[in-house]
């Protein structure tokens, strides 16, 4: 179903820039418009920043998905960090454990089309988000 995978490791704050640059490039290649490119880059920025802030290190992977004649870009953010204690709470607008705006995760869900989050306390978090190319 899917092909061409690549990934960016997040270790320093500047890796966030690298991750979203890569995402923007991939989105451009797939034919996303500028608004969706900005959406994807922003979503990656949020996910990568979460990795940097909460887990310290992790990676962002990119996958081109081709499902039922639909073409899309899948972003997978994974880390071995502390995990999310309360997932439903983390998806609420305005909830933040770090004094931020608390718009990150719910924002990513709204920016992308498909969104899935898996997390286990003490084991890490994997977030998968897909944006489909509108024909």
């Amino acid at each position: 179903m899917s092909k061409t995978q690549s990934c960016v490791h997040i270790k320093k704050e500047w890796d966030i820039v690298g991750a979203r640059q890569m995402g923007r490039e991939k989105a451009k290649e797939l034919g996303f418009g500028t608004v969706n490119q900005a959406r994807i880059a922003t979503a990656i920025s949020e996910l990568a920043r979460n990795i940097y802030l909460y887990a310290g290190t992790g990676k962002i992977s990119y996958e081109v998905v081709n499902d039922m004649n639909k073409l899309g870009l899948k972003i997978i953010a994974s880390d071995d960090g502390p995990g999310i204690a309360d997932i439903s709470k983390s998806m609420e607008d305005g909830f933040s454990t770090s004094g931020g705006l608390g718009a990150g995760l719910p924002g990513v869900k709204r920016l992308m089309d498909d969104f899935d989050i898996e997390s286990e306390e003490g084991k890490g978090t994997t977030i998968t988000a897909i944006k489909w190319v509108r024909k």
Binding site: V35, A38, T42
Partner: protein, 288 residues
Amino acid sequence: MPESLRRIVVENSDDISKSWLEEIEKKKEDDYTSTISNELYQTTNREFVNVIFSSINRQRNTTALNDFSERLINLGWPLSYITDGLQTFRRVTIDFILSQSEKVDSENLSRILSVVDDWVEPIINQLVNEYSGSWENTVSLQRLALQELSAPLIPVMENITIMPLIGTIDTERAKLIMENLLEGVIKHNSEVVLIDITGVPVVDTMVAHHIIQAAEAVRLIGATCILVGIRPEIAQTIVNLGIDLSKFPTKSSLRKGFNTALKITNREVVELTKEKEKELTAILDSLK
């Protein structure tokens, strides 16, 4: 043992150089150096092998090595050229020594290996150090340059100041923006500050958070902050993220923001019409 080996190698330097040059020539075809002209490649190779031999011969002749690495760095040649070259040199030299001695037992072999390593390793170390030193230097200079242009404040008019932001905003820069902004507002006695984000590629929650905080801080010291240069795609992502920017005025362009700033400071742009110009010239004439 090392001395006798050294003698063998130095005496047969021509043969070793020849086979080394052949090996290196082969490398050129398939990788990094394909953009370099043949002539330059060959002369550099010859120079490289000379540098290696003189280093083995005279032990620590660092100046020749330094000059050589400096030139490579200036030319922008990849580090892998040096590491590959020395790896190849080690292999060729060991092959040559082994082919010279009739029978080599394992003890001798390991001694030969370590002697050759002793020659090659200092050269590798020094060249790698030179390279990474020059990179670190470049990176720190660029960081400084980046910092210098990270949060400029321009007083365009009495009471009106503009801060144009270009490029990515990270935590360090966000701190600088806040500091410069507050300092500038006090120093220039500004009533209105325009923050222009036309050149900011991505506005995520972190960036928005910092801008909101900066605007709030500006409000606390009695000035108004207007966010300008919000491109359509940025506006959409901000709405998607659910960020509330309603606490301070925002405008799509610097021009619109500037007009608002003029209104706030009770001023307006007046076009000089022909009649007024005439009046003015009349007044000026009467003064003559």
